[in-house]
């Protein structure tokens, strides 16, 4: 044993000396390992970027999946706007006096024909009606918000909004740890990963899909709607006054229409979700699924939720007399 070890040691020492002397003869640059290291660094950076982009792009996706019903049914609380609404109501009431004086002046001095005088008298009665409506503005708003919420709730009751969440999850997310895994094909994460590894700029175009699907889903139909309904809640008394006062009727009409459209956007959102879920359930998951791309039907369905509310606003115009 000792003899073997001794022999071994001798061989090892000789081998090392031979190694040292032989390798001396070689001149050369850095070998493939250093190139490998720099390539590993390159791919690692790209992959970190993919992970980061996906993390940023998918912010709130789990909230959208779990709480879609609550997000759609969310309405601003009227009690938060008590101060501002009261101030606007007081301001509007102050305008009634000059409005009545102006109408009186118009009736007595400006109008020259019986038709115009009748018109001025009609304006008087409209002012009184608007006075009543302005006083009841908070109650009216409460009623409108309640109707909208209940309608939306009854629509959502017939479908499971979590299905939409699952569809969105399927379109966007890959549940494997590595997004570039070919088994992830058919998700936006896979698409983004592949695009980013090709070129970072091309990766941004796939990142745009995250922005439109998820960011858009939060910003346009939910958050922006919340803000806009809030501002129209505050302006509701003024809208009523402007609508009933003949000279400012066009502006008042625009404001009232916008108030109604944005409050009932909730119903449209619920209808959209229902329509998307029903149309998705009608077809099989492989219908309109071209290769490594996400299921286009599901993708467009999710896209609709972000974009359609903006078109609906432009569609409904001039419906008030």
């Amino acid at each position: 044993m000792a003899k073997n070890k001794k022999g071994l040691l001798e061989i090892a020492v000789l081998a090392v000396i031979f190694l040292v002397l032989s390798i001396q003869a070689f001149a050369g640059n850095t070998g493939f390992l250093s190139k490998l290291v720099s390539n590993v660094a390159y791919f690692a950076k790209r992959y970190i970027y993919v992970k980061l982009a996906i993390g940023v792009g998918e912010q709130g996706l789990d909230t959208l999946e779990k709480y879609l019903r609550e997000l759609i049914l969310m309405n601003p609380k009227l009690s938060n706007f008590n101060t501002i609404m009261k101030s606007i109501m007081i301001m509007v009431f102050c305008f009634y006096t000059p409005a009545l004086v102006f109408l009186g002046f118009y009736l007595l001095f400006v109008s020259t024909s019986p038709r115009e005088r009748a018109k001025a008298k009609d304006m008087f009665s409209k002012l009184f009606i608007s006075f009543i409506f302005v006083s009841l503005a908070p109650k009216l708003l409460h009623l409108l918000l309640l109707i909208s919420e209940e309608l939306a709730r009854s629509i959502l009751f017939r479908v499971d909004p979590e299905t939409f969440g699952k569809v969105l999850h399927t379109v966007v997310k890959c549940d494997l740890s590595i997004e570039c895994d070919p088994r992830c094909a058919g998700t936006l994460e896979f698409l983004h990963c592949v695009a980013t590894f090709t070129e970072v700029e091309i990766g941004f175009y796939t990142f745009l899909f995250f922005m439109i699907l998820i960011w858009g889903a939060f910003i346009f139909p939910i958050v922006l709607r919340y803000f806009i309904v809030s501002i129209f809640i505050a302006l509701f008394p003024l809208s009523i006054f402007l609508y009933f006062f003949e000279f400012t009727k066009p502006l008042g009409r625009v404001m009232l229409e916008q108030t109604l459209i944005w409050i009932f956007m909730q119903v449209i959102n619920a209808l959209l979700i229902a329509a998307i879920i029903f149309s998705i359930l009608t077809f099989s998951p492989t219908f309109m699924k071209p290769g490594p791309l996400p299921n286009l039907m599901w993708f467009i369905g999710c896209l609709m939720f972000s974009i359609v509310p903006l078109f609906v606003v432009r569609f409904f115009r001039g419906f008030l007399p």
Partner: protein, 335 residues
């Protein structure tokens, strides 16, 4: 013996493998090669990456200091710009210029109508119509003369309303706008630290929104002066039947642009109230939507001319993706 042979074979194989590995790293011996490899790893790639990060930090710092911090100062000016209308004396100078021009037309119109009503007209109906037009002209002349005062009154009302809304806490809404920008900036610097070109689009979006806010706020200052100067012309045109619509349009634009700061102040107040009461939604989206809401509030509420929405569209087109492709191509070509 067999074991020794196997062991020897293993040792020889191991030595050959070691030779191959070391040959592929460097030529300066085993230890030298290992040290060189470690040196390359430690001082090559890692330090290279550190210097790249340093360059990216400089890039982020320059972009922030030269652009974002500079443009974000508009938020500090928002309370003053919304609470104060432009100096009325300067607008009056422009108004008087138009009043001097238009008063001649009033004189000509009244004299012409008078001649037509009392001398030239052949039917009762036309005479009655001419008389009505004369009385309308006289009434509009009175409004025409006091139009500088009317404008001043509108300015005072707008200022009082805006200041009142700020007293309710609208200034806190500016913090929500700033947070929106900070959210986008966060995304920009995180992306840039990893990939040099990764955060460019976020930066482009943020700078577009900032330039949008700056432009729209200052455009409002200019528009109120423009339509303020045109108010006498609007009153005159409103009094003549064929040009009534144009006159009405000009007067309405004057009133709308005067009250846009009130709408913005209200929007800021709403942001202050709503941003803290909205639930379930991640704050990132709340803050980002706040910027869009602030920009779009006047269009929404006042319907301030379709061309303002055209401006928004223009900015969106400018920062559209195809342009960045061109930029990449140029950059790659010139590298």
């Amino acid at each position: 013996m067999k074991m020794d042979g196997k062991l020897k074979l293993l040792v020889v194989l191991g030595v050959i493998t070691t030779i191959l590995i070391i040959l592929s790293t460097n030529s300066y011996g085993i230890v030298g090669g290992v040290v060189a490899f470690l040196a390359e790893l430690a001082f090559g790639q890692v330090i290279k990456e550190l210097f790249k990060i340093l360059a990216k930090v400089w890039m982020i710092n320059t972009a922030k200091a030269a652009t974002i911090d500079f443009l974000e100062k508009i938020y500090d000016n928002l309370p003053y710009l919304l609470k104060n209308q432009p100096a009325i004396n300067e607008i009056w100078k422009g108004m008087f210029f138009f009043m001097n021009l238009i008063i001649l037309f009033y004189a000509v119109s009244i004299i012409g109508l008078g001649i037509y009503a009392f001398v030239a007209s052949t039917s009762y109906r036309k005479r009655a119509k001419a008389k009505m037009m004369i009385s309308k002209l006289f009434l509009s002349l009175v409004i025409f003369i006091i139009s500088p005062g009317i404008l001043q009154l509108l300015f005072i009302i707008s200022e009082i309303l805006a200041r009142y809304l700020f007293s309710l806490g609208a200034e806190a809404g500016i913090g929500v706008l700033k947070s929106g920008g900070e959210s986008l900036y966060d995304v920009f610097w995180k992306f840039t630290l990893v990939q040099r070109t990764g955060g460019v689009e976020m930066f482009a979006l943020y700078i577009t929104l900032l330039l949008g806010i700056l432009t729209v706020v200052l455009l409002r200052e200019a528009m109120v002066i423009l339509f303020g100067m045109l108010l006498p012309l609007g009153v005159f045109l409103y009094s003549i039947h064929p040009t009534e619509k144009i006159g009405k349009g000009l007067i309405i634009q004057t009133i709308l642009w005067t009250f846009v700061p009130v709408v913005w102040a209200l929007a800021l107040l709403i942001l202050k109230i709503s941003a803290s009461t909205i639930s379930y939604v991640p704050l990132f989206y709340v803050h980002l939507a706040a910027i869009f809401f602030f920009l779009g509030a006047p269009i929404l509420i006042l319907g301030v001319s379709d061309w303002l929405s055209f401006l928004v569209l223009l900015f969106e087109i400018l920062q559209a993706a195809p342009l960045s492709i061109g930029v990449v191509v140029i950059d790659e070509t010139l590298k």
